[in-house]
């Protein structure tokens, strides 16, 4: 079972993949409160898609379970899973905790 730190590391790695393609002045600062979606988000739409795909693949690879971060359930959460790294971490842990 992935713990909170492991999931957060997966998200950071996905963000680092974006940073690898960006210039020194455009680097995303990594932290639990890094905004992923919204007007003050650090990511454009295509970058967010890349992060979602990377995170889905990595979580599935490590846990052996397929997860979807973009289905109706994710979109109907009171607090968007994509608000920031922390909310995404918690949403992934919720999915993994379910049978």
């Amino acid at each position: 079972m992935l713990d909170k730190n492991s999931v957060q590391e997966i998200i950071f790695q996905a963000l680092n993949n974006i940073n690898d393609e960006r210039g020194p002045d455009e680097q995303i600062e990594l932290g639990p409160e890094t905004r992923l979606f919204g007007t003050d988000a650090a990511l454009d739409s295509l970058s967010l898609v890349s992060v979602v795909v990377d995170v889905e693949e990595a979580v599935s690879g490590v846990s052996g379970r397929q997860i979807s971060l973009t289905n109706d359930r994710a979109m109907s959460q009171t607090v968007s899973p994509f608000s920031d790294v922390s909310t995404l971490t918690n949403y992934i842990l919720l999915l993994l905790s379910e049978a």
Binding site: L46, S50, V53, E57
Partner: protein, 237 residues
């Protein structure tokens, strides 16, 4: 013999027969490694060909196919969405399940394959997606309501994905083939085929080389500025 596909990995759906098999063999002859997705067993025997039994009309089967594909390669550069099924019948008596099957395989299947392949292409930032469409889109033949609609959808699918994937240097185009002698065409009444051929600006069957010519154009290194386009063979428009 030029090997202009050397170093490329291509995925062809519906690779067992007809246009899909022709395209898979063309890519192999010219140096590509090729994976084929089709429901049945392989009909291609080549050291650089890997076959996966996948029902393109079933999203779960497509996902399973990509899981298997990723075990032999982490990179796909070229996708040819060719798999299709055809039931030609007046709309009033078209079985709903036949209509659904055409949408599932011809349109949703192409979407699922493009969706999964583009995830692989984004890592190398290079890709060519070619959807195989049909002259039926333009000619709108009686009996082909759902088939033609599903094929028309392929152009829209490619055009939207072209915008989404352009930043990743992935192009998405559509090749609408005219009548070519395949098992699928043989399902149709001969007089209907003859009538269609006679009405074409270039009144003959398409030859494999006609398809390869347009395919090579869409997939070439030089075509990085060619995206969201549909080419009709034989003068259909």
């Amino acid at each position: 013999m030029t090997r202009h596909y050397e170093g490329k990995f291509a995925l062809v759906t519906g690779s067992r027969r007809g246009v899909g098999r022709l395209i898979a063999e063309h890519l192999l002859i010219h140096g590509a490694r090729v994976a084929g997705f089709a429901r049945g067993e392989s009909t291609i025997d080549h050291p650089d060909y890997a076959h996966f039994q996948v029902d393109i009309g079933d999203p779960e089967s497509v996902l399973a196919g990509f899981s298997a594909l990723r075990k032999i390669t982490d990179s796909v550069q070229i996708v040819v969405n060719n798999a299709a099924v055809l039931t030609s019948q007046y709309a009033m008596i078209m079985p709903p399940e036949a209509a659904q099957a055409m949408l599932n395989t011809n349109l949703l299947g192409a979407f699922m394959v493009s969706r999964e392949a583009s995830k692989m292409m984004r890592k190398t930032r290079w890709g060519r997606i070619v959807n195989i469409s049909s002259m039926a889109v333009s000619l709108e033949p009686v009996g082909d309501s759902v088939y033609a609609a599903s094929k028309a959808g392929l152009s829209t699918l490619a055009n939207v994905m072209a915008k989404e994937l352009a930043p990743l240097n992935v192009t998405c185009n559509t090749l609408a083939v005219s009548a070519i002698r395949t098992d699928m065409l043989a399902q149709l009444p001969q007089e209907k085929i003859a009538s269609v051929i006679a009405g074409l600006p270039i009144p003959r069957f398409a030859e494999p080389a006609d398809i390869f010519n347009a395919l090579d154009f869409f997939t070439s290194e030089s075509s990085s500025y060619i995206t969201a386009q549909t080419i009709y063979l034989g003068g259909v428009n």
